[in-house]
Symmetry: D3
Subunit: 136 residues, 6 copies
C-alpha cells in the first residue's frame, strides 16, 4: 500500500457566526473571526489517496485525474468565493476549517473509490498555524 | 548602513471592482477577483528599515517598537477585516495589492523616521505567487 | 473524528551532554551538540488534538484556548530560555528533541482532555531537517 | 515510542515511459512526464524511524548514523543522476515517485533495524504539490 | 513606482559540460553537474515588473497577462524539458542558472515594455540554496 | 552583470547584553533576549555575489568555491557555537543580527574579490520574522 498526496490551493472569504446568536455572542465565541464584513484566507488543501501502484504505470492514481477531480468538485466551487454564501456543499453549515474538511471529503471520496483506490485523508490549512485533518 | 526587516501577517477579505462599472465589466477586467461576495487572503507583510546600528545596542531600530508600530498602524486595522469596507486608510481606494502597499507605507514612514532611521521598503504578499514592493 | 493542529514557536539554547561523562566522551557521543558553551535553535511545535466538531461552533477545540494553553504551559517556559538550565519540566533530563517532545506532551495532555477532546500528537522541529513526533 | 525524522535532498533526472509502448501511447498515459529527452526534480526525502529513546543519550537513533546511512544507500546513488539509467536499485523499474519510495525503503529498512529501532515511513516529495508515503 | 512580482515554476533536466572538453575536464570543472546522463531541478522563477499603478484598476500590469506571457515565452518551452536539448532560446548556450536567467529576460522584456511598464528583474532558483538575479 | 546567491545555515546560542549595564537595564533594553543563560536560533545566511558570467563555464563564481569559503570563514566558526563566547570575529561586539551581518561581510569580501567578482550583500535571518541585509 502506497499513499500519494496532491496539494491544491484556493483563496476564499468566510466568517464564523450563528445567525440565531446576537452579534455580541458571536464575538464572544468566535472572536475576530465573526467580523460581519468577512475576512479571508489562502487555504491549502492536501488530498491523500492510498492503493497499490499499478504494474504498468507505477501509479496509485493518475495525478492528472486526481488534480482535475479536486478542481471540479472542490477548487472551482471555493476559489475566489465566499464560503458562507457561494458554495453549494457548505449551505447551512458552519464555515469552520473542521466542517469544511469533512465537506471536501464527501465531495471526492466516491469518485476516488471508483478508480480502484481509496481516499485516505483530507488535510486543510487555514493559515500556516492552523490546519485540520479528516480520515473519514 | 544596515537594512532590517520585520515580517507580520494579516488575514483579510477584499474584492476588485469599480462601483461605476457594470458587474460584467468588472468581471472582464478583474476576473474572479471581482466576485461581489468577496474572497480573501493570508497577506504577508515585510517592512524594511535602514540606518546605522547604534553603538550601545547594535540595533538599527528596536524591533519591539517596529513590531508594535506595525501592529497599531497596519495589522489591527487590516487583520480579520474587509479591506474595501472596514479600513480607514483604504477608503475610496482600489483594494489591489499595489495600492495597499503604498497605503501601508504612508501609515508607517513618519513614525519610523522619528526613530532616527528610515523606511526603505514595504513588501506585501497576496499569495505565494504574487507580491508587491514599494520604495517610496 | 477530526484532527486539528496548532503551530507555535520558541527559540532556545541547549546542549547535549551527561555531567558524569568526560568532555571527550560527550564529544564522541553527541558531536558538536555537546559544545559546553551551548548552541540553540528556532524550535517549531505542532500540537494535534482530536475530537468531534461541536454542533454549534463547528470546533473540535477552541483554538484560542489551545494556543493560550500551549503558551502558558510550554512556550513561556521555553522561549528565549536555556532548556538545560531554565525549564522546570526538563530538570535532570536530556535536552534531546525526543525527550523534550515527551515532556511537552505531559504538560498539556491533561488540560486538553478536560475540554472533551484528546491530545493526539506532539511534533517538534529542531531544524528543518530533524523533527520528532510523540503519540503518548 | 517516539518517531524521529531526517530530511535529505537529491536532484535527479527521470522520465516516465514503457519501452514496449509507442511514444504516442507513452504520451497519452504519462503526458509531458514522458518527454524522451528527460526532465528532473529537486526531490525531498523524509525518513522516519520509531523506537524508545535510550536512557543515556535520549536518542531513538543517532541522527549522524541515520544521515550517513541515507547518504550511502540512497543519496549518493540518486543525487545528480538519471533515475532510469544510473541507479542500480531502480533497474528495470518505473521511475515513478511511488516505485522510488518503495525502493528507498528496501535500501534502508534492514540497516535501521540493526540499530534496535524500526523504519516507520519513507516520504518522498517530487514537487511541492506531489508526494508519496510508504509504510512497509 | 511600484514593483510587482509573479512566481512561476518549471521542472527540467540539464547538465553542465562543454562538448570540446574531455569528460574528465568537464568533471573537474562542473563536478557532479556534468553527469553525462543528466540530472534535473524544480526551478522557481520570479519575474518583477515596475511601473505606476493605473488610476482605474490599481494595477501596474495585469497579472493574468503577465502570467500568460511567462507561460508562453518561458514555461511551455522549459517545463518537463531538457534545457540543453529541447529549448530554442538556449541553443548553443551553457545551461547554467546565470545564462538561463539572462535568456529568460530576453524572452519577456520586450512584450512587458509594450504594456507601458518595464521588466525590473528575473530571479531564478535552481535549488533552495542557489539562485540568480538579473536586472538587464 | 548577474547576481548569484548561496544559502547556508548555522545553529548558535547568543544573548544581547552589555556587561557594564545592570541585569535590570539589560532586561529593559533587550527584553527576553537578555536572558543570562542564553537562548539560540537556526540562522539562515544568504551571500550574494555579482559579476559577469564566464564565457566558458557560464559561472559568475564557482559555487563550490563560494560554499567552501563560507564554510571555512563563517559556518565552522558559528555553527553549534555561542556567538558571544566562541567566535573570534565577534569578540567584544554586540551579538545582534545587524552587527553579525557586518562581521560576516568582513570575513568573506576579500576572498570573493580575489575571484574576479564582488560581494554584493549578506542577508542574515535570525528567525522567519526578522532578518538583516548589509551591502558594504
Amino acid at each position: 500500500m502506497v499513499y500519494i498526496t496532491r496539494k491544491e490551493r484556493f483563496n476564499a472569504a468566510h466568517k464564523l457566526y450563528r445567525a440565531e446568536w446576537s452579534e455580541q455572542k458571536n464575538l464572544e465565541i468566535f472572536g475576530k473571526c465573526s467580523n460581519p464584513n468577512w475576512h479571508g484566507h489562502n487555504y491549502e488543501l492536501f488530498v491523500t489517496v492510498k492503493g497499490e501502484p499499478a504494474a504498468d504505470t507505477g501509479f496509485v492514481i493518475d495525478l492528472k485525474f486526481l488534480s482535475q477531480l479536486i478542481k471540479e468538485k472542490v477548487i472551482d466551487k471555493l476559489d475566489h468565493k465566499n464560503i458562507n454564501m457561494d458554495v453549494d456543499f457548505m449551505k447551512d453549515k458552519m464555515a469552520s476549517t473542521e466542517v469544511l474538511a469533512v465537506a471536501i471529503w464527501e465531495q471526492i471520496a466516491g469518485p476516488i473509490q471508483s478508480q480502484g483506490c481509496a481516499l485516505h485523508s483530507v488535510k486543510l490549512f487555514e493559515t500556516e498555524n492552523n490546519f485540520v485533518e479528516y480520515f473519514g
